[in-house]
Symmetry: C2
């Protein structure tokens, strides 16, 4: 490719709304252009990156036995009504009516359509397993689209859906995808972690996120430096405390704590470690009678150590809370505790409340909690003596740095990541809702066991930039760079030897299959170098008359700060060494 | 590819709603599946065809210097309001409101977005010419979606948009695309014609349609078998008659024609050739005053020979009709003519009417037309003697078979075609509406001269099937076949030699880059052959034990009815001869 036949458009400044570095650099490098909030043009330079991501995904999905198809962007509402997602998805789902006033949605994913394909096309267990995938435009009407391609509204996703005859076979399909995803992410050339994730109501361990490591990532990745354990914060288990509960040594005392409504404030006031305090969070569940009318409210008190945070996913696994819960209203709190938030605790309740103690709280002694009276806390609280044992003891907190790794191999650390892939065992959630069956070995209809597997194709380049950039711009891994190598000739318009050498190298690399661009725009060296450093092409060759006279050219990798001279006769071997071929 | 890793799903019967052969065969062969009216899944077999079409389009567009980008499917309404198309496009444009109640459209084309790109990115004439293209999902909410991919609602289109500094440069861009389109359509391996089309208000000859020839095509293609003249029906000019107007020889006579309201009926009643009759079509134009209020109606009478049809595009080029016209209402007709349609004519009008005579009518003498009185016609009508010369004489009819070719090289013929490409010089229509300018050589802002160039990527396979099929199914040209060659082993599960030979040939062809599929599903020969004939894979190799024993295999091209034996030692050379490599 010659730059004069391509479209290069760089800016010195990023637009004011670009808050994160990937958004800033992708705008400045001319990879994307904003059309509306969360909606972008993929400019020629950016589309090349997307196409390379797509090619890697496609090759590895095919290799893993998945079959590509394409489902429509505009999908009929009826299918979405079958699973209830037409209503459940809320404002994020872009709904539209056609000229005949029929409901359609702009696809955010394709579970409904692909399950419809399966129930029409897959009639026998002999046709299974099947894994359909597509690389398609998706839309989610995010409330706050931002960060460029990181949280856009229109985006490109690879979504795959496996259909199996039973859970064991579905496990195999899942593991095949797990392997394929490792292959894919290895090929991208990014640092990433495959992270255990929560698989919701289905349970089990069949859900993993693929996180690109970046200091700016939204997600906390919990990992163990001494092992290969990695999980997201929802999933990572806080092991039961190693120590048993100590004997009570202090008396229960109602202590004035005027205006001290947080654990931190109380600990400071009383000069005790934060770890001696317990925070009280009040939840509620609503029950309904047999005709669906509201039939009552159950209030729950979740107790956590003062320095810990509640993990809602873990809470949602407790029996009674697993059908959905909400935070209690202030009215409900006052009715049950006789006090307002800030001074709540499990002692002296007005109405029945179910008590959930985090594993860590369950082994505490001589602890501190609210006295259910404004401006007072209890100190010296002890289980059994001052209050009954809790109704539930469970892991309901987020892990923190230094917690023991669940695999017993060391202590947990935390780093930040950007989720760009997710694989998930769905079970029969969709096949049941849509009555999607096949005939099993006994000739009876059985529900498909499904899995789904996503990769954020248009998010990946943004994650790559968050991970790989410096003050001069982007640094692409070779595999997804818009061009692998740029030839920068100095004074090409004045110097016949430079022009000739540049064009010859360009032709030679191109015919060897190298994705090369020759900058024949005739700009000044400084501006030319700045452009390609901003754009982030990993390999650069500079051709100047002075170097040619010495039988040389200059090479510099984007990660290097100094160029090196290479003899013209060695160029081929040298570039091969750099991985250009 | 092995069929066991792919997804083959064929049906014996087409669904009842499949009216045309391409729709029937594409459904039966499992290339597409209906999701909703005019909305389809591209199944794995169909997607392979689409990808091959896309690759050819992409390669030739790149070769022609166009640059690929991707514009969003969901586009902001504001841009569409700038050109007025947000309202003008009517119900065909799918409009949607986002969660903040802002207007968006699902793109049917991208003139607005690409013009917005140009006005932001192209600042100087030095950056021109630029030709941006995309291959993207489009949506048009057709009133009557039908014929499968032929007239779908969601479809894939390649749309390109060129930006030039002046009309001469735009001509060059247009001609470059014209050449690229010929390359593209040549590579598809289909019989097609590049057909001159009308370029609307812009005028000139810079619009061509690319029509795939098919007896079932919707469009009439006018061509001259003795030359390379070809045009669509809107565009093809009917030359001025060669003969001059003859002298009047009959007297004007009011003749009873009870209940004979069509030219054909009148000609039959009076035993004269249809060519002696003249049909009267009444049009109307509405004028408005300076504040936009309706200010009056002008009625027009278009006179055509009884055997000719009116051409609305040609009519719309007549001064006074060029701002838009409609057919007159019955009330307007009665007021101006004193009679109802069926007995109208240009003699004895009640109110002023502008008369437009087709060139052919203008040279007629002793002709027949309605007498503006029910059940009466005039015979022996002559211009000048019985009525004044017409206000306008123009070519306002469709050409018919046997008309002289406009290039003077023979007589016109007509065949049917399916439009799959259209190239168009747009001038400044969009740049003006959106104030899209660049700085020209003199440093002054100038409007971009634009062109647009479309290919119906998802329509093309349907057109290919309309052109290439037989009673057994589809016959794909090699270039866009889902697979180039299928290996059908007979009794692969029983015979080790068959399995070995099949797998070896498969591996050998695959490593030579042939797009080959091995049918390892283990079906019976009859069903296996029927599947691949329906699907339309052009080359088939059958491997059986009997043939292997003779050191042979069987080859058959999809167009042939008999197979031929090929020595195993000659297979490579033989397949090369068949164009498989």
């Amino acid at each position: 490719m010659k730059a004069s036949n391509f479209f290069v458009s760089t800016y010195k400044e990023a637009p004011a709304d670009a808050e994160v570095v990937s958004h800033q650099l992708m705008m400045r490098a001319g990879l994307i252009r904003r059309v509306s909030a969360g909606i972008y043009n993929y400019m020629p330079m950016g589309l090349r990156v997307l196409h390379k991501v797509e090619r890697i995904v496609r090759e590895e999905m095919n290799r893993a036995g998945a079959v590509e198809m394409a489902m429509p962007v505009v999908q009929p509402g009826e299918l979405w009504q079958e699973t209830g997602r037409f209503e459940k998805m809320g404002a994020e789902l872009l709904r539209v009516k056609d000229r005949h006033d029929r409901d359609f949605v702009i696809q955010p994913t394709s579970e409904e359509v692909v399950t419809d394909v399966a129930r029409n096309e897959l009639r026998s267990y002999k046709q299974l397993p099947v894994n359909f995938y597509q690389i398609q435009t998706k839309f989610r009407d995010e409330r706050r689209p931002r960060f460029g391609l990181m949280r856009g509204r229109e985006f490109i996703m690879k979504d795959a859906y496996s259909f199996d005859k039973d859970p064991a076979a579905a496990q195999v399909s899942y593991q095949t995808m797990r392997q394929a995803y490792r292959q894919i992410f290895d090929r991208f050339g990014l640092r990433y972690r495959a992270v255990a994730a929560d698989s919701g109501a289905i349970g089990g361990d069949l859900s993993e996120e693929f996180q690109v490591i970046a200091a700016t990532g939204e997600d906390a990745i919990i990992y163990c430096p001494e092992s290969d354990y990695a999980a997201n914060i929802e999933k990572a288990e806080a092991l039961p405390p190693a120590q048993a509960r100590a004997q009570a040594s202090a008396a229960l005392t109602k202590t004035p704590t005027p205006s001290k409504s947080t654990c931190a404030d109380v600990a400071q006031l009383l000069s005790v470690p934060l770890q001696k305090t317990v925070k009280s969070l009040v939840l509620a569940t609503d029950s309904v009678d047999e005709v669906g009318e509201p039939a009552g409210v159950q209030v729950w008190l979740v107790l956590l150590r003062g320095d810990h945070d509640m993990n809602e996913v873990k809470v949602s696994k407790i029996q009674g809370l697993d059908a959905g819960f909400r935070f209690a209203t202030e009215t409900e709190i006052v009715a049950h505790f006789g006090a307002r938030p800030g001074y709540l605790g499990p002692i002296g309740l007005k109405l029945p409340v179910k008590i959930v103690a985090d594993r860590e709280v369950a082994v505490m002694s001589d602890w501190i909690c609210g006295a259910n009276e404004a401006d007072f806390h209890f100190t010296g609280v002890n289980w059994g003596r001052d209050l009954p044992e809790p109704d539930f003891v469970a892991d309901v907190r987020n892990v923190v740095v230094g917690d023991r790794s669940p695999d017993g191999k060391g202590l947990l650390a935390i780093e930040r990541g950007i989720e760009v892939g997710h694989i998930f065992y769905l079970g029969t959630k969709y096949s049941k809702a849509m009555n999607a069956t096949f005939l099993d070995e006994t000739g009876k209809p059985a529900l498909f066991e499904m899995g789904c597997y996503g990769i954020g194709v248009s998010r990946l380049p943004a994650a790559a930039v968050e991970q790989n950039h410096d003050e001069r711009g982007i640094i692409w891994p070779d595999a997804i760079a818009p061009f692998t190598l740029v030839i920068c000739p100095i004074g090409m318009d004045r110097s016949e030897p430079v022009r000739e050498a540049a064009q010859q190298l360009h032709a030679q690399l191109q015919s060897a299959g190298v994705d090369v661009i020759l900058d024949d725009r005739g700009g000044r060296p400084g501006a030319m170098f700045a452009d390609w450093e901003l754009i982030g092409v990993p390999h650069r060759v500079v051709i100047s008359e002075r170097n040619l006279n010495e039988g040389q050219l200059e090479y510099q990798h984007r990660r290097q700060t100094e160029s090196q001279k290479v003899a013209l006769t060695d160029v081929d071997a040298f570039l091969r060494e750099q991985g250009v071929f």
